[in-house]
Structure formats: C-alpha cells, structure tokens
Amino acid sequence: MREVLILGGGTAGTMMVNKLSKALAPDKFNLTIVDKDETHYYQPGFLFIPFGIYKKEDVIKPKRKFFPKNVNVVVSEIDLIEPDKNSVKLSNGDVLSYDFLVIATGTEIRPDEIEGMTEELWYKSIFDFYTIDGALALENYLKKWDGGKLVLNIAEMPIKCPVAPLEFLFLADDYFKKIGIRDSVEIIFATPLDAAFTKPIAAAELGEFLDKKNINLVTEFNIGRVDNVEKKIVSWDEREVEFDLLVTIPTNMGIEAIERSGMGDELNFIPTNKHTLQSENWENIFVIGDATDLPSSKAGSVAHFESDILLENLISATKGEPLTARFDGHANCFIESGDGKGLLIDFNYETEPLPGKFPIPGIGPFSLLKETRMNHFGKVGFRWLYWNMLIKGRELPMESQMSMAGKYIPENQQKESKKLHL
C-alpha cells in the first residue's frame, strides 16, 4: 500500500480528498486527511455576516459530511513536516508517513504582525471579517453604531480574496444607506496598492465605483502601527488616518508549522511550481490553494481550478510519468457591489480581468467587469454550488483553463510603452 496524505481539510483539501478517493485504486493507496478543526466554514459568506445578510449557521457545516467514507480522517494540529523523512508529526503525538503529500494548509490572518493591532481596541473598535469570530463581533458592533469614521485597511499584500475588501466597502455603503445613517458615516479605504485593485483595467472600473459611492481612497498606505490612544493608524512614512471604527485585513501568512518545518518563504507560503503545482524542493510533495506562493489570487476558485491540474499531475507522479498538466493561474470571482447587484471577473497569470460575457461568449448570462443583477444572483447561488458540488469534487460546467472567448480589451486601455527623456 502506498500512503497519500493531505494536510488541511478546507476548500482545497476537501476538493482534493474527494477527487483522489475516486481516482486512486483503493487496493493500492491509503488516503488520509488531517485538519485541526471539525467545522467547515463557507469563507465567502463571512463578508455578509457583519451586515446581517448571513447568519453563522449559513456558513458552517461539519467537515466529516464532505469527506468520503473510505478515507482516514485525523483531527489534530500539525506540529512538524519532515520532508526529508517523508513524515509528518502531529500535535496529538501521531507520526504519519507518506509516499505522496498534498499540502492544503491555507493562510491565516496575523493581526499580531502589526504593532498595536491586538491591544486595547481589538474587538472593541478594531475588527477583522476574515474569521467567523471577527465577522460576528463586527456584526454586534454595527448593530449599535450610530456613525463616524469607518476605515478599512489592508495591511500588506498578498491577501486571501483581494476583492473582498472592496465588496465590504460597497456593502457597507449600502447597509448604512438602508438604515438611514449614511450621512453620518465617512468611509475611507486605506490600501498599500497604488489604486483600488491590483489589476489596472479592473482598478479603473472599481475606482469609479468608490467615487460614485463617496468612499475616500488613500493609496500607498503601508501600515506601520495602530495608535490605540488617539485612534489612528500610522503608516511607515508617518502618514496618519484617524478612525472610529477600523476594519482591518491583517497580514496573511501560511501556518506556523510551515515555518517550523523550514518549508516556507518570508510569509510561510510554500515555493511551488506555478504550472505543475509540485513543490519546488520535493518531488513527492504537491501544494494547492492559499498555502502556495503562486503569483495568482488566493481564492477558492483558484483552488478549484488547481484541483484538476494537481489531480492529473499527482496521478502521473504515482506512475513515475512526467507531469504534463499545467495551471494557468485561472481565477473567477463574483464581486458584490451592493443594492442587489454584482460584478464578475475572470483572469489568469497572463490576462488581467477584462470586460465581456461569461461563460458563453456574447450571451453570458454573466457580464464581466460590469455591474448587473444577474452577477449578484451568481454570487448568491454560489453558496449552494459550493456546499453541494464544489467541495465534493463534482464536475462544474467550467474549464480549468481561462478562455479569451467573450472577452475584449477596452480601446483606451491598450498597453503601451513610453520613452523617457532625461
């Protein structure tokens, strides 16, 4: 028997365990999955909790419900991965050895990486919405809040789901309008980026949304510390933004076991071949989802597109064949824009989000980089798809590779180079 071990049972790990249990012959392979938590969180739903749109029970289900019956499930933290010994030490004392390892340990928020972030004001006037606890605490706070300065800050890139901060702003604008206090709320978005988003064409479009919704944008703001007394965030170059309510997207890092095992980069993300998803350092280790250092978005859709590629390449590796499936960096994200509307973006390593129709060229029903009601329904419907299809590893009517069909490059946005006269 050969051992295939999956570390992490979140979105990526759960998809992989389902796909692998179907693909690997049960008389030749033992499949084991390890996770510290018995609960599966529908993380895209966290965004809606502060505004009372989703409740806690809408975003949680037991993990076991999604694991196949013929798989060993171990509930424990990971202590240490020893890639040169092909074994993993767990915090519960178990030592698991493997022939092939799939690392799907994701990313965590690290507010403790920012000076002053987790002091007096933490969960009193400062909240995150990337954890269930943060999202629920923020919901409670907002219920009683009668207005003031709301500052949303991204600490540093990369972060999980780079569109979520924008969605939060759009939903906040909508929420304060609906409860009648928008005039008493100043909304400020302080970002380390030089624009509203990472990719230029989408940044221009989304920047206009911020203007239209009267949200102030502070760019190239790299937070150095939080001043808990004067309630302000201070950048490394000593610019200050005052807040009454600070919503932070803290530094995102891979789990500490990756650091302890000496397998990660400066953010504990694992160097991974961007096309084959094989670890750069160990041939029998594959990495998927947020745990990788790939130059793609950290998002469930990316993990989903990666899962087909990883499956194919892992099967090839078990047979000693070359890895031929190639990941193109494909991501596909609905962006909730408030008032029952949304946008959709579809992109990969090479192609930034462009306008057009998706998935059927010219028809849709979804419109790319354009605000429509249909896109909002796509986002809402996705929760059902996630629980019932996606993490169970069932086929979705979507290709892993991004397609240019149905997309166009706006004329005024064609890239051009310039000359500099000195």
Binding site: M157, N222, E266, L267, K415, L420, L422
Partner: protein, 105 residues
C-alpha cells in the same frame, strides 16, 4: 551635477514606467530615476538596498517584497521608508532598473 554639460539620454520604459531594457541601466541612470522619484542623492544605504534587490532579481526573477527585503538586507522597515518614501519596494525596483515587483496580486 558634474562640470561637463549633461547629455540628453532617451530610455525606453515599460507600461509601468520602469526601465524596459535592463541592459540600459547604469549607476547614473539610477540617480536620474532617484531624482524623478524624489528620493534625492543616492547614499551608500540606498545602494545596499539597490544591490541587494538586483541580486535577488537575478536569482529569483522578481524583485523582493518589503518583508523579504527587511528580513534579509539588514535594513529595517523604518529606514527603508526613510530611504525610499511611500513605496520602497516599487521605488527601489524602479531605480534599480527592474520591472515593478509582481508581489502585488
């Protein structure tokens, strides 16, 4: 400025305004970019950073993030922002004749 009259230079830039062709980079050009970016006269500490990121780029094919820079170059985050105000990773890359770091996704 040196005593000899300054010659006109024309260099090709990429769509981010960084040097398009690395071979055209010189120390003088670095100073020109530094002036444009309002970084001012390049000191030895600036050069420590510039040399470090040029080495990193040769090894890894991308300019390092601020976090990596401060961890490995011996320059603290505070000092880095003093040397290259606002966006140190981006500004230092531009002055070093490298493309805009891909780090931001």
């Amino acid at each position: 400025m040196s005593s000899e009259s300054k010659q006109e230079k024309i260099v090709e830039l990429d769509e981010d305004g960084h040097l398009a062709n690395r071979d055209e980079w010189t120390k003088d050009l670095a100073q020109d970019f530094a002036n444009l970016e309002e970084v001012g006269e390049l000191t030895d500490r600036h050069w420590d950073v510039i040399n470090y990121i040029r080495d990193e780029y040769d090894k890894k094919g991308d300019a390092p993030s601020i976090r990596k820079l401060t961890k490995e170059s011996g320059v603290s985050t505070k000092e880095l922002y003093k040397l290259f105000p606002k966006g140190p990773a981006k500004k230092a890359a531009k002055i070093a004749g490298l493309p805009k770091p891909k780090g931001c996704i």
